[in-house]
């Protein structure tokens, strides 16, 4: 009814056009604001060295690809593969550990379940700062993991992170129990139910955890700084960006912001690709976190 009236009245229509254009004006204006850091990151990476002696501008005098050539060394490739290794193994651990535990908590009934769940929820709230220093001592002195990448992914295979367990459990509780009851009547074992019925159904939340976990590990700085800072062979990209191209760099020519920003751009590209690819799953996952978290 209202739409009919709107179409008939020219003044209301003009008002609507004005409203729509104002809306788009502000949408675009804020977009420019939010894109500005990315623009600056990219533009700075293409700026020739000479512009950093004074005379930076919002548009480089010439597009200079030297920074990218400069950072593309054997060491960079090594850091890149270290980072990939950590991310893939960590994410694999998150999916394995959290799905396994969440299945037991959501779908099975066993002695000690409530105690285990209470422990997991307690650990969610335990600040990581309390654990990080003693963990470093444990890794170094007891496991002999000093300077290795193991601390960055092995713990994930044993449980997969308490918050992740909680999220997967909440998601699994949404699956009707009639599914596994029917399957067990047909003679399926508990593991078959887990593998063939429950796991495919919780794929959305696992994809969400995998993608956000990958991006989080890819950009993580604190973890590598604590565990591999003094083992240059095992640096990840974040750490290399900070030590090799960032403030602590000894070599003056490498210290220029264009190579820092070039590393930043190279680091950002996989994240943007992943985000673009799994955008729908990420949004759905966030929505699930909100409802259940």
């Amino acid at each position: 009814m209202t739409s009919v009236i709107r179409q008939k009245s020219p003044s209301v229509r003009a008002k609507k056009i004005a409203f729509t254009s104002t809306k788009y004006f502000f949408l675009v204006l804020f977009s420019i604001f939010f894109v500005f850091p990315i623009y600056a990151l990219v533009i700075n990476s293409f700026m020739p060295d000479i512009q950093f002696q004074g005379g930076k501008s919002l548009w480089p005098t010439t597009f200079y690809f030297g920074a990218y050539l400069e950072i593309f060394t054997a060491a960079y490739v090594k850091y890149f593969f270290n980072t990939i290794l950590v991310c893939v193994l960590n994410v694999g651990g998150v999916c394995f550990g959290s799905a396994l535990t969440a299945y037991a908590l959501a779908k099975l009934d066993f002695f000690g379940k409530n105690v285990l769940f209470a422990c997991i929820m307690g650990i969610v709230l335990l600040p990581s700062t309390v654990l990080s220093i003693p963990l470093l001592i444990i890794y170094k002195n007891w496991f002999n993991w000093g300077g290795t990448l193991y601390p960055l992914w092995v713990p994930m295979w044993l449980g997969g992170g308490t918050m992740n367990i909680f999220l997967v459990r909440q998601f699994m509780r949404g699956i009707p129990n009639s599914y596994n009851e029917a399957a067990s009547l047909d003679g399926a074992t508990s593991f078959q139910i887990f593998w063939m019925i429950v796991l495919p159904l919780v794929k959305p939340i696992l994809i969400y955890l995998a993608v956000t976990g990958f991006i989080g590990n890819w950009n993580d700085f604190q973890g590598p700084l604590m565990y591999v800072a003094d083992a240059e062979n095992n640096w990840t990209l974040s750490l290399a960006l900070y030590y090799e191209y960032g403030i602590n760099s000894g070599a003056a020519d490498k210290n220029l912001p264009n190579s820092q920003m070039a590393v930043g751009v190279m680091m950002m590209i996989p994240c943007i690709v992943l985000f673009g690819f799994f955008q729908k799953q990420i949004m759905e996952g966030i929505s699930a976190v909100g409802v259940k978290g």
Binding site: Y24, V130, I247, V291
Partner: protein
Amino acid sequence: MKGVFSKYYTPEGKFSFKILVKKNWVAWTYCIPVVLGILIFTIMPVVTSLVYAFHDYDPTIPADLGNQLSNAGFQHFIKIFTWGKGGLLTDVLWSLFITFRYVIISLTLQIVGSYCVALFLNQQTKGIQAFRIVYYLPNLIPAVAGTLLWKEMMATDGYFNIILESVGLPAFDFYRNKATAMPTLIFTGIFSWGGTAVMWLAQMQNVPKEMYESANLDGANYFHKTFKITIPMTTSMLFYIVVTSIIGGIQSFSNVYPLLELSEEFRFIVVMIYQYAFEPDVRNSLSMACALSWVLFVIIAILTATIFKTSKWVYYGEEV
């Protein structure tokens, strides 16, 4: 006690360990990894940390001599709570003060700001999906790259000073100046609002459409609907964001540690703990770091408990 175990009694009425294992071993198998994980990566470090907090640790003595640890009693805690010379209370309080000031200001701004952004993005217009992605993009800048980028942009010859100078204002060293260091850090936080806005948006889209329809019938305008429907219906996300942001914000590290060389204003509490643990020139005392992290733990625990106790306003949907 008998109630819990009654399932595991033999027909004769005696508790049987065999039946307990038989009925539970499958489920227990699934839990082996997580139990091991909790024992090794949570319980063990918690105990180690407590032991270290009450001992003096000397890493220069080889571990096989076994005397790296010497009993210190409450010495470290006494030192933390001693005012003035020889004590750390002034340092710790200052560090806590700047940390909390940052958390309170940035969190308040973030919640209000990102909610406005989300309300703005929560409309049905052509191309809105693209705008949502664009607003989210700054979150994908790697943390270290972002910090280096802001350092670069806020430097005396950076973009912000180019803009200032073009208007005829003098150049300004945003991060090094004591008065502007913290506001600059908070300003750079604005660019992560898109990420929070996406979380709000997800929740806003779960609000039943019928609510707005019946509100429309009652003649409610946009502000009525926002304040009476949208905001109350998204309180569970607000609770989640408040809890995670407070805990995460107090433990800020990656976004401030690379800035420390520019200003003492960035010596947040976790940075201080890290320095005690790892930077020999500050004072290599792992024990003090452990003691400090326990003080921080108590503070965070009290805060979290208070938030959970006062969370009656949170709406979790009908079924819960």
